[in-house]
Symmetry: D3
Subunit: 327 residues, 6 copies
């Protein structure tokens, strides 16, 4: 591996549209060995009970990630890729139409990466994929604290003919399987109408803290950040970011849009102000380019969120290396 | 009529995309008898002086309404469809290219429904259809108080070769015909450039209260709600919701978008915080799927607004049945 | 059942865009009893190894079928709906992400309809659904002769992790399960590059007659019709029409387009010149509106093919009632 | 008027996308005086019983006409704009939602142009506009021979609530009003299913010659050209070209697409081989950019057809000036 | 020049979609003589290092500008076109693929217009065009104060093979060439990740004041207006408005969208509250209709911004004529 | 290099949408050493005088090439990738807005590949790129015979401000520079209107043989193949395939569509029946996904053409290895 392979192509030297798109124009690598952060596509939409097409989400995010640059002005001008070794590992394999086989195939791929110590950033794909990544991550790190952005709780039990895995179930399954520590987890951005009366309380009954969009809007982002930090309690963190957390104007390309949510700016400002967290894994899910329009703004937002999560990890690395927090 | 016919299909049992789409997967019925609320499509775009295609609006709203669920967390977890008998009555007929014949055909359809005592929820279709529904509703209930959300006043007099009916005229015609009591009506969200100097004052001259988007933004939603409630004075209310009231980012699929308006969240929070009103009819208009992009977020917002209006009616029903307000 | 329910809405009386769209504006019915032909949506894309979204195919076909009219000038001006009792039964239920459960659910739905003696016209949905309908039809009629239009043979064995059901397998499974009599079946329109050398012969090895597009183009439609009729041998016929049989210019909205095929006109002229066949079931599959563009020409062609198949059935009915062939 | 104003902008000098688009980059003029051929937009879709949006057709044709160049290799390299004085007169005014007022407004505009002796080329707009142009043209030239390309006859009588003017009626109205001489007129390209049994014969009953697409396909273009020429009998010709005459693959952007028609090449070869005809007017209608997809191929085909008609007129002019036919 | 030529077509008399679209339906004129404000398209995308297609931006803005009306309620009901003589001069010519030749051709066009004393409003086209207009404007007015709205600084030095002109360089080149007085200029709305550490300071090093979106959001619009006015110091002002300053939800049709910015409402309220400024030129750039979706909301916002800038000029004219400020 | 790297991913094992798309799922390699055929993207649209966006063409072709499979039934079931070592080398770099620098950068990239002896397959990108590849190829092989499919001759001299390189000039420049032997070259598919009278003869004057679409249609493909083979005279062949050679229905996603051309089937049948030719290079150009619609059928056709060219090379290799022609 030469050093030229460890940095992205510079878009001041070679235009963004030149070349086969990887995440942020990083080198594609077959193995995670030696990386701090590995980006992995999860091109499945088996878990989609409404719109389908998220199988094309990872490559859509990659294409739009060409817009991004490596320096974060929100974290003291840190150069993310000089702080962390990052790579795009391509996609985990999936089996269209066969959810259980798909989850196995995805987990197998993540197991191999997580075993190297790399932090995994999964690009979805529908939210049903999260359980596969959570199984891998928890196998190594134990039960994780989940920081979950979503307009829905995704803590339903069963769907249709009794199926236990879909985009609506991973945060119930994760608790049941002991992968998630709900007492140190928080769900943010929930809103909209509900299926059954128990929807209101099902996440709280499982142990999660829940902050609806109405509550967030009323309390302000500063208070919310404090609540998040306190809740996560410094334990290993898994961030799960469903693009439908923002208003559909900012992310039309999702499976189950929910009218009337926060703006992209409100969400990004929150992410950029979070202190460095002990992130062990993350996913950015429910990007569906078929519904995104020609501007592909959902994919761009997803890529930006992924970069902000990596920048958070980089900030943590820098803090540890210089012995003090960066903010 | 069996009981299974009175509830929507549950999207936890049968996926949202299965079946021919009615509003919120309610049963389609040929007659309004026995319903509290009847949803009726008004598939006309005869009144559209700019973009056309709103004839496909009602079915677009129906398709996206599959996203909605019956429980409102904004009104104490009320189950809308266990509180009210609701049905989708399909579309009123129209005559493309012939505005007067179209208004007659629509009114005839509404007359039959209104006569049963059902509250009508018209799904447009361009705003020119409103006069037909207003004629039906006022025939039974007398002049109504209008709660009108729009970026334009729609109180112009004549268009082109002197035509008196278009999307720009119903709230002048409604006053002239004695269908609307302007002294107890309010127009919310107006903004943008104007045709003639008298545009500024024409609604006020007719008797309406007018709150521009700039004024709303300055006064805040709490004050606006008070002003609305005071203005409506507890008389029979007709809500007319033109999707162009929100910024085009939140509703690109409209006839005459007006840049720079409120967000979907600002509008939905307002609607959800309105106390139960004595609603006798409503319409949600100017949804044009041809301009909505693949995400169809305008149609989704329209469906959500329709549900919020029905939830308001349900809350009123519950209040009356238990003898106290629900909030 | 009143007589008004047995005919479609007349588009000279009520514009095509008015009302919730059923197939050709036929009445939607909950039960098949009393129908000669029942149209049923199969909104599954579980079997799609490439593009997904065919779950929205049945409703796309319904919407575009509003263009069609009941009289066929290609069969002596027969009025299809005065010859046959037809109805739209809505959609069979499916389970997204769970192919085996989906096939069971679809078959269950068809079993009930086939039991009434109605001919079923399945609207897909991906080609993987065909096996469910074939199981129902063969249960009643015994092994069928298949008249199969497709650019691919769909006789592969297994996919990915050994899965036996996808859009690429039904015509192998159907032979294995004894549902299809391959010696009296024919596949038409195959073309393009192949996976493995055995692709060339796998259908022939199973017993099918195969006519590639190049062969059809060389022999002409007249010869092909003779070959079809001879092959089908007057046994119960199942027509399976995959929209990708035509060139992608005529059907861009499919899962696996194959460049360089026949035109829509060539295919429709063939269908319209086929003599009345003893059709016991049919499907028109692989319509994916997400890839069809605003013109929705794939859905229109699918609807037209469905009508031509029903017209063939009607012609057979008329022949039997007057004791002689119609052509 | 300087001479530079009488020729289009040369696309070898100034790129096609520069400037506000007129038809073929011709000068826009307010008056027809001095022109041999005047191109006029008819931006109405009042007569559209299915899809609407043809109001944007004329400008879509103008935009795509930038692709065209002035020399026709199919007519001995004639330079159309050095043979004829041509101009784009902009659009006739219309009244959305009011068909009768629209037809009056269009006719008034054409009357003024036709009075100057200019041949009018109407760009639609829906086919319902044709009656307005026919009234103008026949007022000056007497009853015309119509050469009508269409997949439908457009000779229905009334629609919906008895309305007499729509895209489906002009060729009945034109005969009734004495504007068309049906005995010297011909309809080409008809196909597809029909509303009522009399559809088969209604055009023939009115006196038209009718050549369906199936018949054209069987007889070949050479025979068809002979039949056309013989039928038109050297009397003043009005060409009416409905884009839906070609298969929807070649013209997806139309109101009422009809699957399975001729290719663009088949139609253009026919037009290019027609001898010079005594054309007094023409229209190219039913272009709807909202359904045309990003490629806008329907608009391009419409522009090309318009140019071929103008080239026919130019060839006639040249023949008369040199005293012999050009082919 | 007759008086009818100096006002736009009234959209209450002639529908907005009738006619070949000029900016706000103003007359198109070949020469600027006698105009106060001349609108000029700059249809180049040679300077686009990512998405291309802005060559179609000027006509997209023209089409959507039909929505606008001449009276501004934000400036005491001023009628813009009765205060100022305005015209659309069409497009400056460009040379695709040849940036230097393009900048020369654009400048030549502007030179001729600026020489008449008219204020120029350039409609882009990519931001690389700005340097051409700045050269013309500064030639007459000396170095200008720039009020620059953008999510990027556009003060990079060279791109790719050392090229000095692209959408990322005009505000460095403008300082280097002495066209811009950076000490009296301000850049507003910057945000997002950066290429190199010096990106953070490069604009400040050149002398600009910079207000990031985060800073604007924290300080509020009132403070920002004060800062702008103070900074511009009453010297000749050039406004450069890059549509990507707003969040991509409000302007998806841009070359380099940057997630998480202000809303259209926030930007328009700012513009509408600016006092009359001594504007000598402006451009509204980076509108790319190919990425704008069917709603074309980016083009509408661009047109609205252009009108607000013209209204600012009109307000200044009125102030001067009545000897006092209008607000 | 392991053997697994030399074959494409099998789409029966891993679904087509999994992974970052290379041409036909071949391995991406940094160097051409050891390959027989190297596929190279040329993502430039600097040479586009009308529509732009072909910079995204190479990746669009790669995405759709996932549909293709390695066995050609048209050449005795040859397995292309077991006969030839093939790889995707990614894209040559380009400089947006600077045509001369772009042509240099592209040529430099090809020079390095051609030097290894690999046959280059360029994926465009606009046709202006061809001159760069021709310079590389001719440098090694001497003047080539060009087999050129196009609806335009691309033998114009200069554009706009005298620029010598654009999509309309490479086949004049190539002759002038001695890269092309026009006496052994042939242009196929020309049609449509022309700029100047000399357009008709300019290619013939340069020495090319020209077969218009009308001539091809009249002579039939069999005769045309004979004419091609005779013309090429067994000298080194360069195939240049402009997607606009087919009718826009089959390739809407091109820069300069020309209505009324051959079908995809007619072109593919021709290519598949060509005997093995001594191909030393090829390009497939003018694919513009921005105009291709969601079906991306232009990109699919381009990928299919590329495969047919590679299959031709493979057939030649097989012939030489077994000492006899394959057909």
């Amino acid at each position: 591996m030469t050093s030229t392979e460890t940095f992205p192509i510079n878009s001041l030297d070679v235009p963004r549209f030149v070349g086969i798109p990887t995440f942020m124009r990083l080198p594609q690598r077959a193995e995670a060995e030696g990386t701090d952060v590995s980006v992995i596509g999860m091109p499945s939409d088996n878990g989609s009970p409404f719109r389908t097409g998220a199988r094309f989400g990872p490559n859509a995010i990659r294409s739009m990630s060409a817009m991004l640059r490596p320096i974060s002005p929100y974290r003291d001008g840190i150069d993310v890729f000089r702080t962390l070794q990052c790579a795009d590992l391509g996609d985990a394999p999936v089996v269209p139409g066969y959810m259980p086989a798909t989850l196995e195939a995805i987990q197998l791929f993540f197991d191999r990466v997580v075993a190297t110590g790399a932090v995994t950033i999964g690009l979805g794909g529908d939210h049903g994929c999260s359980i596969a990544e959570l199984r891998s991550v928890a196998k190594r790190h134990g039960p994780v604290s989940v920081l979950h952005f979503d307009s829905h709780s995704d803590t339903w039990d069963k769907y249709f003919a009794g199926e236990r895995h879909s985009a609506g179930t991973p945060f119930r399954r994760g608790v049941e399987e002991g992968l998630i520590n709900p007492e140190q987890s928080i769900q943010i951005g929930l809103r909209g109408s509900l299926f059954v009366p128990s929807d209101v309380t099902q996440s709280i009954d499982l142990g999660y803290d829940v902050v609806t969009w109405d509550e967030w809007s009323a309390m302000g982002s500063h208070s919310l950040i404090n609540r998040i930090v306190k809740r996560l309690s410094n334990s290993p963190v898994f961030i799960s970011f469903d693009l439908d957390v923002v208003d559909p104007a900012f992310a039309p390309g999702v499976q189950t849009p929910e009218a009337g949510g926060p703006s992209a700016s409100e969400v990004l400002m929150l992410l950029r102000r979070l202190p460095a967290l002990p992130i062990v894994g993350a996913d950015i899910v429910e990007v569906n380019p078929l519904y995104d329009g020609p501007g592909q703004i959902t994919a761009l937002l997803a890529a930006t969120v992924a970069l902000e999560i990596i920048a958070n990890i980089a900030a943590g690395r820098r803090e540890r290396s210089i012995g003090q927090p960066s903010d």
